[in-house]
């Protein structure tokens, strides 16, 4: 392994962060690491915007009556919360931030295959986001993020087409990122880095990219058809004009189901990296974990109509989709078991990233099991379109994706910024997130089973206690999310300088400086070892804070 010639406790003189200070050098960069930071800023902004809307929802739901805002306003608030979180946060968060930063580093490349298309991806995201902001500021949209017809084409009088266009453009950002990753992994691996030596984060992002490339165009065309129907009164989905509203649902969910695997797979990749590093051993069953990512991507395309069990599809179609939906559960379970087995005879550290990894496993297990409950059609009839589903997807999206992301952000923060974050505050935040999250969303499982439907501005009084618990949890959760914002920013200036490899982790990204130079490696590495060769790497404690 190459060791850096730079002393461990000094930041390198010239790295990607200080290689050019002008605004132009950032806004016209083609360096994948800078683009990752551009995404970090913009995605974080949208996260807090979506979170703000979530706060409004929880505040309204403190009381059974609709007394904080009008019904129409509430409908817009939950729609925009959903659209922002799905399209502007969950889909890009791990691939566009951590993926963009790490994929070339992890495979020993100088950059992604198409750096200019990478920059284009970011600009498309920004254009889409700006368009969506404009849509919100000029009246918003109230169709729900799922914009079912005929309400979205004929019933709603809000900015449906504009919102659709924003999502369409964001979709292209996603497609280009996925395309870039696939070509990069196929064509630009360092010499000696065979597929079976790739880090699991790469396998995960590769599988994700397959879904991005194959699935996103379908929602793009669906949006086009909805827009065309709405603008020109063509009858494609409206029965009054000869169309079929169920066709919309099929086309919509054909993308939107695989989309949730776009969200979770990269986070699962992060968790693999974290468990390997903080247990100091290769992930148990590496090959199975790698292939399970591909399996999830493939099976994920076969199950879309499990969102439509009560929509009016035939009884037999429902049974087929129920059966197939269980098939996706197997590779996910395989991952959870392998991660757990990795802990056996490991040497386990409780650093913050590991705490997030533990949190992920626990919460994803609950979220995934409730997903199996939803796949069980006899149960789904009762709980679909209720808060049970809301709780399920928040468990996997927030308890899963977001915790994986936060774990990864903390793990690679020293590599990205050259600084360590304050471990005490980080552990506290992780705890607040875990407790706040469960308090927010566990009551919602109960709410759903006793019958509270989703997207409800007002509700019968007997549901109030659980709603109040949920809102209380949300306030704790909010603090848990705000703290990292503060201390991560603080660490940029006051955090101790991190060396090239403060965790003693395996992986090519740790064999270059923190932060890395613009072209990543002084010399292209030649890989002769398996992934996660922790038996060859001596353990290392997190470096004690060093005087600046």
């Amino acid at each position: 392994m190459a060791s850096t010639a730079i002393p461990a406790n000094q930041a390198p003189k010239l790295n990607y962060l200080n290689n050019g200070h002008s605004l132009k050098s950032w806004l016209l960069t083609t360096d994948h690491k800078r683009i990752a930071l551009l995404y970090l800023i913009s995605v974080t902004v949208f996260f807090f915007l979506g979170g703000f809307f979530a706060m409004l929802i929880r505040l309204e739901l403190l009381t059974p009556q609709g007394d904080l805002m009008q019904a129409d306003t509430y409908n817009k608030v939950f729609t925009m919360h959903g659209m922002i979180m799905v399209f502007f946060f969950l889909i890009p968060v791990v691939p566009a931030i951590l993926g963009n930063f790490l994929v070339p580093l992890m495979i020993g490349a100088k950059d992604l295959a198409f750096p200019r298309i990478n920059l284009l991806s970011w600009y498309l995201y920004i254009i889409a986001g700006t368009l969506f902001l404009h849509c919100m500021l000029t009246g918003g949209v109230d169709t729900g993020w799922t914009f079912y017809t005929p309400y979205s084409t004929a019933g709603s009088n809000t900015n449906v087409v504009e919102a659709g266009l924003a999502v369409f453009i964001a979709g292209f950002s996603s497609i280009f990122t996925g395309l870039n990753f696939i070509v990069t992994v196929h064509r630009m691996r360092a010499p000696g880095l065979t597929w079976d030596r790739l880090p699991l984060f790469i396998w995960a992002n590769y599988a994700t990219s397959l879904i991005m490339v194959l699935g996103t165009p379908v929602i793009a065309i669906t949006i086009v058809l909805v827009a065309v129907e709405r603008l020109f009164h063509l009858g494609i989905f409206d029965p009054r004009l000869g169309g079929d509203p169920l066709l919309f649902q099929h086309l919509f969910w054909f993308y939107s189901h695989p989309a949730v695997y776009i969200m979770i797979l990269p986070s699962m990749g992060v968790v693999s990296e974290l468990i390997a590093c903080f247990a100091r051993k290769r992930i148990f069953g590496y090959k199975f974990v790698a292939l399970s990512s591909i399996a999830i991507a493939v099976f994920g395309f076969l199950v879309w109509a499990h969102h439509m069990f009560v929509a009016g599809i035939s009884l037999y179609a429902a049974m087929v989709f129920s059966f197939l939906s269980f098939s996706v559960g197997v590779p996910s379970a395989v991952k959870v078991f392998n991660w757990t087995a990795t802990l056996y005879k490991g040497s386990i550290s409780y650093a913050t990233p590991m705490l997030y990894a533990f949190g992920f496993i626990g919460l994803f297990t609950i979220g995934g099991l409730t997903g199996l409950m939803l796949a069980t059609i006899g149960i789904d009839v009762h709980v679909t379109d209720t808060y049970f589903v809301v709780a399920h997807f928040h468990y996997v999206m927030v308890g899963g994706v977001l915790m994986g992301y936060l774990g990864g952000l903390h793990f690679w923060w020293p590599k990205i910024s050259g600084r360590m974050y304050p471990e005490g505050w980080a552990k506290l935040s992780a705890l607040l997130v875990f407790v706040g999250f469960n308090l927010t969303f566990f009551p919602q499982f109960i709410l759903g089973y006793v019958g509270m439907p989703r997207r409800y501005w007002q509700y019968p009084p007997e549901f109030q206690v659980l709603n109040v618990l949920s809102t209380a949890g949300a306030s704790v959760l909010a603090v848990g999310y705000l703290l990292p914002m503060i201390y991560l920013l603080w660490s940029l200036r006051y955090g101790p300088i991190a060396g090239a490899n403060p965790w003693g982790a395996a992986g090519l990204e740790w064999q270059t400086t923190s932060p890395p130079p613009t072209f990543n490696f002084d010399e292209t590495p030649v890989v002769t070892w398996e992934a996660y060769n922790y038996d060859e790497i001596p353990p290392k404690e997190v470096e004690a804070p060093v005087a600046r």
């Binding site: 029965p239 009884l315 757990t340 409800y456």
Partner: protein
């Protein structure tokens, strides 16, 4: 039915709880037992194909029990019994309009007697809604342009929430109501209390006033098929297809006659799209159904089984 759904749910909860507990305990124990101590290194362990197969196959088998049990219940949920009393439901933004076969109309409330299978035949006037009664564990989306059905049997008198469960605009959360379940004698009293004409009689009147009887004659062969006994039987179309004359077929024949031409007839029927309302359509469909033997969906009171003894505490809907 509700107790069956709950039983499956409890099974799922137990299995999930055990699974979750296993993972939580395993992680906690392993994380503590193998925490980092100086002097002990991690042991590199590749994996175990046997374990991988085991923990793929066993969960798959467990999941198959979920699937089969769920499918069995779902099949029952989607198959209304043949002797069900029919009730027509028209959803619109933002209310539920109910029509009993006897002609009784209700808004946002559905009165039913205990112990009677009720089959709901539902359509929407505008956007997609969903008929959700948590206490009965039933839910079915209600679509514009076609009928969807759901069924239940209430066993305990009381008022039970009715919610709309598919987002439909401004007053989606206000589009609620109650299912009012009454003892059979109370229900009979309620039913007698309002002015009404049975739904199929209304349909019969419309059949004449709209001119249907001109072509669909019962005495001689007219320009349209004789509708006696047509409902729920197979129909041969002129392009060779065979379809079953169900509610959706009758509805479509009125609104879009050229979609399916009966074999041997000319496509001369005009469309009634925009001429008949959803309620009138329901009445016509009920009338056509009444032309088939044995009477289906007529006022169910005379066919009711003897009232069952007092039910246990928790609501049971079969």
């Amino acid at each position: 039915m509700a107790s069956q759904v709950d039983a499956l749910y409890i099974y799922l909860l137990l299995v999930s709880g055990v699974m979750t507990a296993l993972i939580f305990v395993a992680i906690t124990v392993l994380a503590i037992k193998y925490r980092r101590v100086p002097g002990r290194d991690a042991q590199p362990i590749e994996g175990s194909t046997l374990l991988e197969i085991a923990w793929s196959i066993i969960p798959l088998f467990v999941m198959m029990t979920f699937f089969i049990w769920g499918a069995v219940i779902y099949f029952k949920e989607r198959t209304p019994p043949a002797d069900s009393t029919e009730v027509y439901v028209v959803a619109k933004q933002w209310m539920w309009k109910i029509e009993h076969m006897e002609g009784q109309r209700e808004i946002n409330e559905l009165h039913v007697p205990t112990g009677q299978n009720i089959k709901l035949i539902m359509t929407s006037q505008d956007v997609i809604h969903s008929f959700f009664v948590p206490a009965f564990r039933i839910k079915q989306d209600v679509l514009p342009g076609r009928y969807t059905t759901a069924w239940f049997k209430a066993t305990k008198p009381g008022r039970y929430h009715l919610f709309c469960a598919e987002y439909c605009g401004t007053q989606h959360s206000g589009m609620g109501g109650d299912i009012v379940v009454m003892e059979p004698q109370d229900y009979a009293q309620w039913m007698a209390g309002g002015p009404s004409a049975p739904l199929q009689d209304t349909g019969k009147q419309l059949f004449t006033s709209l001119g249907c009887a001109t072509c669909h004659r019962f005495d001689v062969q007219g320009r349209g098929p004789n509708l006696t006994g047509v409902y729920s039987k197979p129909v041969l179309l002129e392009d060779g297809r065979m379809v079953i004359a169900d509610e959706n077929y009758v509805r479509e024949s009125i609104l879009n006659p050229t979609a399916k031409i009966v074999n041997g007839f000319k496509p001369v029927m005009p469309t009634f799209q925009g001429i008949v309302s959803d309620e009138q359509l329901n009445a016509l469909v009920a009338y056509v159904k009444s032309l088939s033997q044995p009477p289906t969906g007529t006022a169910g009171l005379q066919n009711q089984p003897a009232a069952s003894p007092a039910q246990p505490q928790n609501m049971q809907v079969q």
